[in-house]
């Protein structure tokens, strides 16, 4: 299984599992990234981090380090 960090721009993936715990995990989930959610990787910031994704119909910016906690396929 891949993490969201490794997904190239322009691809749509589905969330399989979230790692981490407590505030970190809760924050990501509160923003709508839960099991079974579709994520479209939209673009990378000019300096290479963070990435912009589309989730539940809106745009979200997430650091690559945090994206590594999201397992997708």
């Amino acid at each position: 299984m891949k993490t969201l960090r490794e997904i190239p721009i322009g691809q749509t993936v589905m969330v399989k599992k979230l790692e981490g715990e407590g505030a970190l995990k809760r924050r990501i989930m509160d923003m709508g990234i839960t099991k079974g959610t579709q994520i479209y990787v939209r673009k990378v910031a000019p300096l290479g981090d963070p990435v912009e994704i589309t989730v539940r119909g809106y745009e979200l910016s997430i650091r690559k380090g945090d994206a590594a906690n999201i397992l997708v396929e």
Partner: protein, 723 residues
Amino acid sequence: MAITIALAGNPNCGKTTMFNDLTGSNQFVGNWPGVTVEKKEGKLKGHKDVIITDLPGIYSLSPYTLEEVVTRNYLIGEHPDVILNLVDGSNIERNLYLTTQLTEMGIPVVIALNMMDIVKKNGDVIDTKKLSDLLGCQVIETSAVKNEGSMEAAEAAVKMALQGGKTTPQHVFSKPVEDTLDRIGEIADNFIAQENKRWYAVKLFERDEKALESLKLPQGTLAELEKAITSCEEELDDDSESIITNERYNAIAKVIKACVKKKRGGLSTSDKIDRIVTNRFLALPIFAVVMFFVYYISVSTVGDLLTGFTNDTLFGEWISPAVESFLVGIGCADWLTGLIVDGIVGGVGAVLGFVPQMLVLFLMLCALEDCGYMARIAFIMDRIFRRFGLSGKSFIPMLIGSGCGVPGIMASRTIEQDRDRKMTIMTTTFIPCGAKMPIVALIAGALFGGAWWVAPSAYFIGVAAIIISGIILKKTKLFAGDPAPFVMELPQYHLPTVKNVLRGTWERGSSFIKKAGTVILLSSIFVWFTSSFGFVDGTFGMVDDIDASVLASIGSVVAPVFAPLGFGNWQTAVATVLGLVAKEEVVGALGTIYAVAGDALELVEEGAFGELGAIAQHFTALSAYSFLVFNLLCAPCFAAIGAIKREMNNAKWTWFAIGYQTVFAYTMSFMLYQFGLLFTGAAGFSIGTAIAAVILVVYLWLLFRKGYVEKPTRLRSVDTVEA
């Protein structure tokens, strides 16, 4: 009977606009007790006894962020009569997530489905009637920007409160979860109020630390709860907090499926704009241009003109002389005239002098925020700034800080994360502001023969101080272990509305005058008093010569402290203290004390450094540079300290910030001077060198040690009871 409506909703859902619509000019802006989160209250237009409280924009009611905790404490502790929940119809799925939590709190909820103009423009259709049934609360369509529906929504909320209506959450979780929640309700039945039963059951299931703290359950009950929770977690193979979040979004997905028909279209206008603005190659140049304009207008042209006008013309030529001649005319005592003209009017002028410039800056910042570009700035700059514990949005305060630290500090408002904001407030004034430039020019001109590198080195020192402080502070317990990830919404672009921008500008400007004003005024009066009074021939009275003033006496007591930095005489000590009034005063004060012919500040501006020999002869190149470094980094002027106090909203944090800056400045100058002495061969190895070496080691340790890591504070106490 007065009714309180709590206005709740996600960030970027149009809450501020609606709040302004509903309350008009009847607003009180402040902070929530003891925290840096803004609190706004106002009376509903046309209703004397209806108060609307604007809650912080939040995505959830988790116990992890300051804003969310403030909101929860308010809703549970103050129990408003009704919640008016603003839901962004164009982003309904995520917005309803908060709604599912609000409806569980035992407070009646009315939903204002906002941004309906955008929903319709996009061609989407929302069945409001069905939505209302499925959520269990009344839904009213609004479009706050166009002032449509806001009043109806508020009136529906008032009606709900008057009728004592109830909201029962309609979303149901899956069977294992519901069974466990029922079980929790039974176990903790004696400890929770009936009206919040659902809320507490869910919170206990999540092992919410704040809820547990407030309920103070006995160990036996906790162990029983833990057993019920764990068995459900095993059944569903996830932790309880994630189970609830998942269930909420699943429930919302069902609601959405039944009520919302989205028209699938191509790229929206906002998408098209974003394609260009945050494009890999264009983003940085566009960013540079935007920042250049913000800086150019607020700092160097319009802002500078306005500040110059307020300081020099309005106060310098009009008000001060007018007040003085009036007081002299009515035969007022000299000391009183001095107090009023130099102390009070001068002090008030020092406060107001910054306001026009600040208003110009805020006008632009509000526009940037309102149109959605501010979030993109964080997106673009995040990578650089987060390395030393700051946010991408810290860029703006620092940029503005190079003009003036006061609006720079105030600009930190736009940073959401509490720790990032505090750290930005603490480090912004390290960047040399416009008023510090005369000090730099004096040292460069009079002691280094106008060497080209002195001015750039001042900026370099400022940036280095920010980076070093960022790394050091991030590793301390106060700032470390921030477990919240940086997940930030990038809102849709839209045209800023004039009304919003103007109101935001005014709010920030006036709150600075109110909150920072007293600090600045009192300190100005204090410095005026100590510098114009003193003992002459054994009698206490007003003195013409600053040599005889109380301040000079204080200066000679303090002076030895500065000796290891190379400038241990009362003259420089006094100049440094006067620098707190305004940094350019340092130059003026040195000129006065060392009896330079003419105004030292003007001589520096003219570049007549030959005339400043009287100052120069008291310094060596090394002690002068050490003096420069200290004055660049130490506590900022009173106006900036006032701004720090306004933003921190906490005396302890304000003192910590000022103390940190001063200690940092002192130790840096200490090392510079002592090592300088050694390496230039001016002195051999001494105790001073040894202390400097110790300081260096301490700094290196602070920089390279492993940071403090916050331990996860979950419900482990229960585990240990069982184990």
